[in-house]
């Protein structure tokens, strides 16, 4: 997943190498490096913004390794563990209150419904919905799915999950 990271480097030679080494050791893929050499923080350090792709479990290791190298990690991107999933719901999706189903996910704060396709072939027929859910991290995604599972059970909806997700 994509992570943005604000770090601060001392203004001495060789600092960038120390900053990139932990990324390479953790097999993170560096997307962009913006080196604000003309700016200085009040601590006289040089702010650098990194965007990288890595596994969620590597984030803490990368942070620790950077700090070991004397590099200050100021911020790790808010949506650093962004995960996405498509789920199909089948049943009386609309009549049982689709807005309420969406709200149950949205109000968690860590997951939200970002896309919805809906098909209602007839008033007394089962409707079908394909819902895309984004979550901050894998664990949060599973929590959101557990909520959706509960809602689906209450509303007698069939919830069809992707094969790679523990149902």
């Amino acid at each position: 997943m994509r992570v943005s990271m604000d770090i601060e480097l001392k203004d001495v030679p060789g600092q960038m190498l120390l900053a990139l080494q932990p990324l390479s050791e953790c097999k993170a893929n560096l997307i962009t490096v913006v080196h604000h050499h003309q700016k200085r923080t009040p601590r006289k350090t040089v702010p650098v913004k990194l965007v990288l792709e890595t596994r969620p479990e590597s984030i803490e290791t990368i942070k620790a390794k950077l700090e070991e190298n004397g590099i200050r990690v100021v911020r790790v991107g808010e949506h650093r563990f962004r995960e996405s999933i498509n789920v199909v719901l089948i049943g009386h999706v609309v009549h049982t209150g689709i807005q309420d189903t969406i709200d149950e996910i949205d109000r968690t704060g860590f997951a939200e419904v970002v896309d919805l396709s809906l098909s209602m072939p007839g008033i007394n027929m089962l409707s079908s919905a394909l819902m895309k859910i984004d979550a901050v991290g894998k664990e949060d995604l599973h929590k959101a799915l557990a909520i959706l599972k509960e809602v689906s059970a209450k509303k007698d909806l069939l919830m069809v999950l992707p094969i790679d997700i523990q149902a």
Partner: protein, 331 residues
């Protein structure tokens, strides 16, 4: 030449398939040093018995003409107890509530020290452990490749070909009827009920399709895999089951537009046994169409191994029975 004397208990589609395969493979079996002599064929109305070997071609003709092979009013258990033979080929219909005739036949076979090869899921779903113990106590061979996935090798693949590998999970499509219905619903954009009716007309779905479409058949196969491969003492009650009856053509179409098909997937691991419709990416190895079965085995050493094949059909199922027979008696 080794002579294997056997009985065929249950002479429906599978039992007849076994007879056809024995006739078809007579020369091949002889070439590997095996002569298969069927001494009794039993159906629900009685039996044909001949210690010198029954005429299988004649049995097939009579079954199709008279709807029975019965020349004597004698049951499977009585054949097991009174006719000398080595192997019982048990192909009676699956009954997952009581185990049906198959349960009695298997226990009777072990009691008399006979080997058993079966395609019947019922007894294995209900009393796997007891059956294994009875077979072990009798020193009998007990093989049941045909119970899961028809001709598609899965039990023997894992226990023999992949021996030494720890299996983490098995996922797959283990019911051809459900696969056919979901495939056709997507292709034709037709309702579940319409395609179910079509499947019944084509003989793909049974007159009572409940076992298939409610996921019960898949769950039974998972119970057998849980016991035979994971060593879990599981029964049907340990399986979470959701069938395909609620799946709509619209849901299939929406999923397809996002690059997925909906398939009834059975999943077994040490932690859980689960059957439900799932979204499968269209380029995924499990996204097979028609009546095919497929299973993906996640192993510790060999990674993921996927097999696919015909899950039903008399000759295909008989192929699994033949492979079990050769595994027991071949050199």
């Amino acid at each position: 030449m080794k002579t294997v004397c056997c009985s065929i208990l249950g002479f429906g589609a599978i039992g007849q398939g076994v007879a056809e395969v024995f006739l078809m493979k007579k020369e091949y079996l002889e070439s590997i040093g095996l002569e298969v002599k069927v001494v009794a064929v039993v159906d629900s109305k009685g039996a044909t018995v001949n210690p010198e070997g029954v005429d299988l071609a004649d049995c097939l003709v009579r079954k199709r003409r008279d709807r029975t092979v019965a020349l004597e009013n004698i049951s499977g258990v009585e054949v097991i107890q009174s006719v000398a033979h080595d192997l019982v080929i048990e192909t009676t219909p699956t009954n997952i509530l009581t185990g049906g005739a198959g349960m009695q036949n298997m226990f009777a076979a072990f009691k008399t020290g006979k080997d058993v090869i079966t395609s019947n899921k019922g007894p294995l779903t209900l009393k796997y452990r007891e059956l294994m113990e009875a077979a072990k106590a009798a020193g009998s061979h007990f093989r049941f490749e045909a119970t899961v996935g028809g001709s598609m090798p899965i039990i023997n693949l894992v226990n023999e070909v992949l021996a030494g590998n720890k299996v983490k999970s098995i996922k797959g499509i283990l019911n051809g009827t459900c696969n056919y219905i979901l495939t056709r619903m997507l292709e034709e954009r037709a309702s579940y009920n319409d395609i179910l009716a079509e499947s019944m007309q084509l003989g793909i779905a049974e007159t009572d399709p409940t076992y298939d479409v409610e996921g019960i058949d898949t769950a039974c196969k998972l119970v057998i895999l849980a016991n035979a491969i994971f060593g879990i003492d599981a029964t049907y009650n340990n399986v979470e089951v959701t069938g395909i009856t609620k799946v709509t053509p619209e849901a299939l179409e929406m999923a397809y537009e996002k690059g997925h098909v909906i398939k009834l997937i059975g999943e077994v691991s040490r932690e859980r046994i689960h059957v439900a419709p799932r979204l499968v990416p269209i380029n995924h190895p499990l996204a097979v169409g028609g009546t095919l079965n497929v299973a993906s085995v996640e192993t510790e050493l060999a990674g993921e191994i996927t097999v696919t094949g015909k899950g039903a059909g008399p000759i295909e199922t008989a192929s699994a029975i033949l492979s079990d027979l050769i595994a027991i008696y071949g050199d």
